[in-house]
Amino acid sequence: MNEQERMTRRRFLKACGLGLAGLSLSGYMTYLFGGTSVKDVLKSTLGGTGADGFRALENFRINSVEPTPNVQLADYRLTVDGLVANPVTWSFAELKHALTEVEQVSDFHCVEGWGIKNVRWTGVKMRELIQQVRPMQTATHVTFYSLGGVYTESLSLAEAMEEETLLAYGIYGKDLPAPQGYPLRAIIPRMFGYKGAKWVYRIEFTDHQHLGYWERYGYNVDGVTAR
């Protein structure tokens, strides 16, 4: 191998190394900015506008499989039934009166790969709701039904009782936007977003696990591993 050739191999390897370093750096920058599109990255780079919370809200991608329902709060009712000793049907005001309002900051993870850090939710804990309706001994799971009649999801009773499992009606101190599930959606921070049904109007306690909308296509029921 002559001198010229040896040098050119070195140059090739240097180019590879520099390329990888450059890509790593730019990938890390994108991660830091938390952008979900070129526009988001540029907007974050240039400072953007509005409070961080609202920029994060814009970064949510809407993955609904049914049209966003037009909910009139006065007509809205939440029904909790199935294998419970004390089934209830609450108006939105009754729901807020019956259960303690909590605020929770948690990350949101989508099965697609994107996520939003530190989302501030307002709502009520599923745990408290479960205590009020008193599930029968045969109840092992809860199923959430969306207003559109298409989307359903389920959790085990233990998952529903977890500390951070929430029925949320607010985000960043405001009402949930309609595409985000107004007036009520389920939030389970440690699971992918598809486990949290939006526009929840019915919660049924069952003795078996009901396969949710995406789970019938192939996503895992545990909501933690993708497929």
Binding site: R9, R11, L23, R61, G115, R227
Partner: protein, 203 residues
Amino acid sequence: MKWVQRFNGPERFLHAVVALLFLVLWSTGLCLHVEWLRESLGAWRFAVRTVHDWTGLLLMIVPWSLVWVWRQQLAAFFREMTHWRSMEVDFLAGRTKRAYKFNGGQKLNFLVAILLLTGMACTGFLVWKSQWISLQTREFLYNWHKLLFYLLSVQVVGHVFLAAVYKPTRHALQGMMRGRVLKTWAEEHHPLWKPEEGEEIGE
């Protein structure tokens, strides 16, 4: 008109396989990324994602298998494509127009494509099979995957433009489609390239 052999059968087949798999990945990726396309897919999103994931896996396996099977026929191509002379750096700096079989731009295109595709394959695979990594790491890799998607899109658009649209260089496409290019074109664009004996084809 005299023609010279530019690419052999295995080289062209390998390029076609990579291009086809890339096209499927790029179009399905676009469907999953662009907001209005994603929304209009509805439940088809799952099927598109499945095609995207498995095509990505094929792109990680099939080309390398072909390289192994045709290693002898492809050896000269890879040797030349990864061999950088000072002239190729000078070509990129605009100090010369002279080139052997591949000029500095073509070699840079190859290098960048390999790097970007490797990056996309690694990040894409881990986003798909995420059981070994944390959700935070997965989201970090997802962002990286998107960034590489933007960069690769720009690079491929440039590659296709120069190879198929830009008048002074588009004859190069003949090399990939038919395996041969006009001798006059080769002498103008790659004056230092001497096709091996027997590669000159009269017509």
